[in-house]
C-alpha cells in the first residue's frame, strides 16, 4: 500500500510546482500561449515581490502594509532613469525646481540641526514654517512652468536617459531608502506602528506620484518606456524567426495555396513575435528571481543569517539581545523593501507604461500577502509557488465570475437588470474570495502549502 502522505511530505515542492506547470500548460493548449506567458511573467514579478515580503514577514515577522508604495517607487525610477530628458522643460523650470528642492532640504536640515542643538522649539517651528512657505512658493512656480511645456506629450522634466536595466537597481535603492526612514522611526516601537506607518507612507508616495505632474506626469501616465528586449515589429522582420515559424507550421502551410501561405505565415509570425518577446521577459525575470533566491539563501546560511534565524526562532534569546534586534530588523526591512522596489521597477518595465492609478494599494498589497502566507511564510520557494497560484486565480477568477453570471443570465430571460448588475459588480467578489482564502489559511493551515523546513531551536 502506497502511503500518499509520505510521498507528499518528501516531494511536495516538486509535486506542487509540477501541478502548477501542468495547469499553465493546459491553459496554454486550450486558450493561448501569449495569455499563459502573460500570466507567467506577472507571476514571476509577483514572486519577486512576494520574496521581498517573505523576507520581512517570514524572517522577522515584520508587517509591511505599504508594498504598493515601495513598488511604485521602483516604477518611478524606471521613468526617471530611462526616459529622455525634456530639455525645454528643464530650460524653463529645471533650475527653479532645483532651487526649490534645495531650499526645502536646507529647511529640513536646519530644523533638525537646531533641534539637536536644543534651540527653542517655537523658534525652530517658525524657521521651518518660513522656510516651507518660501519653498512652496518657488516650488509651485517651478512646477507650473514645467507643467505648461507641451502638456499633452511631456509637461514634466523627463528622466536621465540611462539604460533601463540601471533603473532596477535605482528602484531597489529608492525603496530601500524609504524603508530605512520608516523603519528607523517605527521598528523600535510596537509591531503595529510599522504596519500603520507603511500604510501611510504608501498612500503618500502614491498621492505624490499622482498629483505632481512635473515629476512623472501624474495621472497622465508615461508611455513608450524603452525596453530591455526586442520589439515585436523588429522580430517580425527577422529571418530566423520566420524560418522557425515556417518549420513549426510546415504541415499546416503545405495545405494552403501560395498566396494563402504568405498571409497565413505572416499571421503566425505576428503571433510568434508576441510569444517570443514575452519569453524574453520570462527569461529575464526567471534569471533575476533565481539570483535573488540564491542570494537570500546564501545570506540565510551566513553568520548573519544564522543570527536572524536564532532571533526569529527563539524569543528568549531575542529579547536578551535587545537593541541588536531593532538593528537587524531594520536591515531585513530595508532588504525586503529593496526587493519589492526592484519588482516594482520590473513591473513597469514589462508593461512599458507607467500608470500611477494602477497601484491600488490595498488590493495588490493584499494579493502579495496572500501569496506569501499561502505559499508558506518563511519559505522562499513557497512564496514563488504562492505567487503563481494566487496570480493565476486572480486572473482567471474574473472571466470565471463573468461566465457564472452569464450562466445565471441564460436561465433568467426577462430579468436582465440582475445580470447587468452582476456583470458590473462581480469582480468585487474577488476581494471577498481572496480575503476568505487568507483567513482560511491562517486558521487551518497557518504554515502554508510548503511549510518552512524545521525551525532550528
Amino acid at each position: 500500500m502506497i502511503n500518499f502522505n509520505n510521498i507528499w511530505e518528501s516531494y511536495k515542492t516538486i509535486i506542487s510546482f509540477t501541478i502548477m506547470g501542468l495547469v499553465l500548460l493546459f491553459v496554454g493548449l486550450n486558450q493561448s500561449w501569449a495569455l499563459v506567458l502573460g500570466i507567467i511573467n506577472l507571476s514571476l514579478i509577483s514572486a519577486i515581490m512576494a520574496l521581498g515580503v517573505n523576507i520581512q514577514w517570514g524572517y522577522a515577522g515584520l508587517f509591511n502594509v505599504g508594498i504598493m508604495g515601495f513598488a511604485a517607487l521602483g516604477g518611478v525610477s524606471v521613468v526617471l532613469i530611462s526616459q529622455q530628458p525634456v530639455t525645454e522643460a528643464i530650460d524653463a523650470g529645471g533650475l527653479k525646481m532645483l532651487f526649490a528642492l534645495v531650499l526645502g532640504a536646507i529647511t529640513i536640515v536646519t530644523g533638525v540641526v537646531l533641534n539637536k542643538k536644543g534651540f527653542n522649539k517655537w523658534l525652530i517651528a517658525l524657521i521651518v514654517v518660513i522656510g516651507y512657505l518660501f519653498t512652496r512658493h518657488y516650488f509651485s512656480e517651478a512646477s507650473d512652468v514645467i507643467e505648461k511645456v507641451d502638456p499633452a506629450i511631456t509637461g514634466y522634466l523627463g528622466g536621465f536617459g540611462f539604460p533601463i536595466a540601471f533603473s532596477w537597481i535605482v528602484g531597489g535603492l529608492a525603496a530601500a531608502g524609504a524603508a530605512w526612514w520608516i523603519g528607523k522611526i517605527t521598528l523600535s516601537l510596537r509591531a503595529d506602528y510599522l504596519a500603520i506607518a507603511t500604510l501611510g507612507i504608501a498612500e503618500i508616495i502614491l498621492y505624490v506620484i499622482k498629483n505632481e505632474d512635473w515629476f512623472v506626469r501624474g495621472v497622465k501616465n508615461v508611455a513608450g518606456l524603452p525596453r530591455p528586449v526586442p520589439y515585436e515589429v523588429d522580430m517580425q522582420k527577422s529571418e530566423w524567426l520566420l524560418n522557425i515559424v515556417a518549420w513549426i507550421h510546415r504541415s499546416d502551410l503545405a495545405l494552403l495555396t501560395q498566396s494563402d501561405q504568405v498571409a497565413q505565415l505572416s499571421e503566425y509570425v505576428r503571433g510568434a513575435s508576441v510569444v517570443f518577446v514575452k519569453l524574453c521577459y520570462s527569461g529575464l525575470f526567471v534569471l533575476i528571481l533565481v539570483a535573488l533566491i540564491v542570494l537570500s539563501n546564501l545570506a540565510l546560511n551566513s553568520p548573519w543569517g544564522r543570527k536572524v534565524r536564532a532571533i526569529r526562532d527563539n524569543e528568549v534569546a531575542a529579547s536578551a539581545m535587545g537593541k541588536n534586534i531593532t538593528r537587524q530588523h531594520l536591515q531585513i526591512f530595508v532588504i525586503g523593501s529593496a526587493i519589492v522596489g526592484i519588482a516594482g521597477a520590473l513591473l513597469v518595465t514589462y508593461n512599458g507604461i507607467f500608470i500611477p492609478t494602477s497601484y491600488m494599494p490595498l488590493r495588490f498589497t493584499f494579493l502579495i500577502w496572500v501569496m506569501v502566507i499561502l505559499g508558506g511564510s518563511g519559505n522562499n520557494l513557497g512564496s514563488v509557488l504562492g505567487a503563481f497560484i494566487i496570480w493565476f486565480i486572480w486572473i482567471q477568477s474574473g472571466p470565471m465570475g463573468l461566465w457564472a453570471v452569464e450562466m445565471i443570465g441564460s436561465f433568467n430571460q426577462e430579468g436582465n437588470t440582475i445580470t447587468d448588475f452582476l456583470e458590473d459588480r462581480v469582480h468585487y467578489l474577488r476581494l471577498v474570495f481572496m480575503g476568505s482564502i487568507l483567513l482560511f489559511i491562517m486558521r487551518f493551515a497557518p504554515r502554508g502549502i510548503l511549510p518552512e523546513k524545521n525551525k532550528e531551536l
Binding site: H137, R190, L362
Partner: protein, 344 residues
C-alpha cells in the same frame, strides 16, 4: 469688500470654513477612533477593518434610506438616514458578531498573544467587508442625504446679522456634533458607571484577573462588538451625510483614525477624542486657503494675491501621516499616556 480691517467678518469666515467643518469632521473621526480604541483595549489588536466597517454600516443606512424614501416613509425636515440608523446598527452588529465568531474568536481561544495575528485577520476581514460593500453599492461616490440641508443658511445668517460674510450650519454638521456628544457621553457613562462597563474596563486592564472574578470573556467581547458597531455605523453615516459616501474614501479614513488613536495614546478613549480633533483641525487649517481671511485682516497694501494655502487639499492624508510620524518620533506613548505594553 472693504479695505479696512474687519475682524468680525474674518471670524465669521473662519467659523464657516474652518471651525464648523473641523468640528464635525473631528467628531466623525472621534467616533471611529473610539471604536478602534475599544477593539484594541478588549480584543488587543489594531483593527484595520475599521474604515471598511464604517462603509459597511453606511451601506446599510443607504439601502434602508432608499427603501424608506421609496415607500414615502419620511419625516419632512429630518434626514431619513437618521431614522434608519438604529436598524443599521443592528445589522452591523450582526455582521461584526458573525465575523468575531468566524474569525477572531478562534485566536482568542488558543490565546494568541501576538497583536500581529489580529492585524492580519482584520486585514482579511477588511477585504471581505470592502468587497461586499463594493459588490452591493459599487465603487462610485454617492450622496444619500434628504430633508432640510441647512439649520440656517448663509443667506438667513446674513439677513439676521447684517454681516458681509455668512455662516451656514448644515444639518449634517449639527447632527454630527450633537449626536457625537450624546454618544460619547453615553459611552463614558457606560464604561465608568455601569457594572457591565466596569467589567469591560476590568477585562481590558487584566484579563486573567477578570476571569478569576467571574467576568465572562465572551460576553465582554460581544458587548464590545455591539458598542463598536454602534460607533462605527453612526460615524460612517454622519461622515456620509456630511461629505458623501465613497468606499475608497471610507477605506482611507483608516489613516486619520489611526493617527488620532496613536496621537492620543493607544488604548485611551479620551486620548482618541483629543487626537481626532487635533487631526481634523490640522487637516482643515493646513488645507484652507487663507486669501480671503487675510484680506479681511490686512490693510489693502498687504493683500495677498495667491491663495495662501499651506498644503494642497489632495495631500490631506499626508497630514495625518506627518502627525503620526511626528508623535512616534517625539512621544510614542501619545499625548495622553496610553497603553505602553508592546503588541507582541
Amino acid at each position: 469688500m472693504s479695505d479696512s480691517i474687519d475682524i468680525i467678518n474674518a471670524f465669521a469666515l473662519m467659523t464657516n470654513f474652518v471651525i464648523l467643518p473641523a468640528l464635525s469632521y473631528g467628531s466623525q473621526l472621534a467616533l471611529g477612533a473610539l471604536a478602534v480604541t475599544l477593539v484594541y483595549s478588549i480584543l488587543r489588536f489594531s483593527n484595520f477593518a475599521q474604515g471598511d466597517s464604517m462603509a459597511f454600516g453606511t451601506m446599510i443606512v443607504i439601502l434602508l434610506t432608499g427603501f424608506m424614501i421609496g415607500k414615502g416613509w419620511t419625516i419632512s425636515g429630518i434626514p431619513t438616514a437618521l431614522l434608519v440608523i438604529p436598524i443599521a446598527v443592528i445589522g452591523t452588529s450582526i455582521y461584526m458578531l458573525t465575523m468575531d465568531r468566524l474569525v477572531y474568536r478562534h485566536y482568542r481561544r488558543i490565546k494568541v498573544k501576538q497583536n500581529i495575528v489580529g492585524i492580519t485577520a482584520s486585514i482579511g476581514v477588511m477585504f471581505i467587508t470592502g468587497g461586499i460593500v463594493r459588490f452591493i453599492l459599487g465603487a462610485s461616490p454617492q450622496r444619500f442625504e434628504d430633508g432640510e440641508r441647512f439649520i440656517f443658511s448663509v443667506r438667513e445668517f446674513k439677513a439676521f446679522t447684517g454681516l458681509e460674510q455668512g455662516i451656514a450650519l448644515k444639518t449634517s454638521q449639527f447632527l454630527t456634533i450633537t449626536i457625537a456628544i450624546l454618544l460619547v457621553a453615553f459611552l463614558f457613562y457606560f464604561l465608568q458607571k455601569t457594572k457591565t462597563g466596569k467589567a469591560m474596563r476590568a477585562y481590558s486592564d487584566n484579563t486573567e484577573l477578570a476571569l478569576l472574578s467571574g467576568i465572562d470573556p465572551d460576553k465582554v467581547v460581544q458587548i464590545t462588538w455591539l458598542l463598536v458597531a454602534a460607533l462605527t455605523t453612526i460615524a460612517g453615516a454622519l461622515y456620509g451625510l456630511d461629505k458623501g459616501f465613497a468606499p475608497q474614501q471610507y477605506h482611507l479614513l483608516l489613516l486619520p483614525i489611526f493617527a488620532s488613536v496613536i496621537v492620543g495614546g493607544i488604548g485611551s478613549p479620551l486620548g482618541a477624542i483629543a487626537g481626532a480633533f487635533l487631526v481634523s483641525f490640522s487637516e482643515v487649517l493646513l488645507t484652507y486657503a487663507y486669501k480671503k481671511f487675510l484680506i479681511y485682516l490686512l490693510p489693502l497694501s498687504m493683500h495677498p494675491n495667491s491663495l495662501v494655502q499651506l498644503i494642497g487639499t489632495e495631500y490631506k492624508y499626508a497630514i495625518s501621516f506627518v502627525i503620526l510620524v511626528t508623535v512616534l518620533l517625539i512621544r510614542p506613548t501619545g499625548l495622553l499616556k496610553g497603553k505602553v505594553i508592546d503588541g507582541d
